[in-house]
Structures are given as structure tokens and as C-alpha cells.
Point group: C2
Chain length 120, copies 2
């Protein structure tokens, strides 16, 4: 199973999932599976911007001895993004509609993270 297949599997098994993306910490997309992102939402640019935020969260947590950051989520009116670090250099993000199944999203990211890590 390649990276793209893992991303698709996460996307297709979570209710309300819009897209699942593997990114490098510098905001460069490695691969993604898009199910349904409305034309009015520039998901790629949003994720690049969010990747800076995930980096900041990691730095803050390290500075204040809160431990490594495992997961960050940002919920807006239109999209809920759940990100999970899979290595010090990579994270995956699942974008959901606001009424998507966030519990399942977090679960699927957690179990898929080690599988994706082994592909890198």
C-alpha cells in the first residue's frame, strides 16, 4: 500500500472527510487524496498556512516542557483540519466538513501514522 492509498483509505473511512494530505513541515505537499473540497475554499494555501501554525505549536510545547506535539486541530465555520505529526519532518492532515466525525478522524490518523511513517 503506497502513500496515496493510505491517504485515500483514511479519507474514505471517515464521515465528512474532504481531503487527506501528507505534508513536510515546511508546508510542501508530498501527496494527497481529495474527495470533495468546494471551489470556494483554497485548501492547498490554507494547509500551507496551517503548517506554519503546527510548527509554532511544536516550538511552544518544546519551550515550555509540554512534550512533543502529537496532534493539532483547527475548526472554522467551513472546515475542520486535524493534523498529526508522523515524524519530526512530516505531518498528515485530514480536512473535514464542520459536521464530520472528528472522533473517527483522530482515531484513523493515529493508526495510520506509523504505516505512513514506514513508507517515508
Amino acid at each position: 500500500m503506497g502513500i496515496r492509498e493510505h491517504l485515500a483509505e483514511v479519507c474514505e473511512s471517515v464521515e465528512g472527510a474532504l481531503a487527506c494530505t501528507l505534508m513536510a513541515i515546511d508546508g510542501i505537499e508530498i501527496d494527497s487524496h481529495v474527495r470533495d473540497v468546494g471551489a470556494d475554499l483554497d485548501m492547498k494555501s490554507l494547509l500551507v498556512e496551517y503548517s506554519g501554525i503546527f510548527q509554532s505549536a511544536r516550538r511552544a510545547a518544546e519551550t515550555y516542557q509540554a512534550g512533543g506535539v502529537a496532534e493539532v486541530s483547527i475548526a472554522t465555520d467551513k472546515v475542520l483540519a486535524v493534523a498529526r505529526f508522523i515524524s519530526s519532518e512530516h505531518f498528515m492532515v485530514l480536512a473535514l466538513s464542520p459536521d464530520g466525525n472528528v472522533g473517527k478522524a483522530r482515531y484513523k490518523l493515529r493508526v495510520t501514522a506509523p504505516r505512513l511513517r514506514s513508507e517515508l
Copy 2:
């Protein structure tokens, strides 16, 4: 019921809650209720740092037409912080132990937000 009582009520009704804080967007604490924060964790400084991250998330969402940011959560090895904006200038944060009840945390923040807003 004053601000402090609302914060205490949220804290006491969520399993694994450590502290609940009302903050201004510039990182200044307005009030807080602390139940149990380990001595090794500088929660106040961490929340000040996180408030910058919450602001960045809001700016990113606005820039890319993702709508207003309702909620941001950051999970580290030691603490899970769930933040909810209650106005353009204020947000509340509930800090939980990593095995705390995040579903209940999100629910309590959502229902308490309008009550806190009416106190400001």
C-alpha cells in the same frame, strides 16, 4: 454566576481537566480556575505562547476564506489544550491531561462560551 464560577464549573465537570482560563487575544489572562497542574509544567507561559498560535489560526482562516475560527486544540505528550473563541478579543482554554475527556471538553466549552460572553 461570575467568570470564575463558569471556569470552575467547566473544569469540575470534565474528566481529566487541569485548568480553565479566560484570556484576551493578546495573551493576557483575565481569570482562571486551576484544578491540578503539575509543578513541571509552566501552564501560564504555555498558554501565552498558544494564544499567538490561536491568533495565527484565525488570520490564516480569514485569509483563505475558511470562515471564522471557532476552536483550536493542541495535544502534546503532557497536556491537551482546547481553546474556543468567545468573541473577537477573547477565548477560553481548557487544559486536560492527555487521557482527559476531549469530547466533553469541546461540548462544555461550546455551551459555556455564550454565558461567558454575556459576562464580558
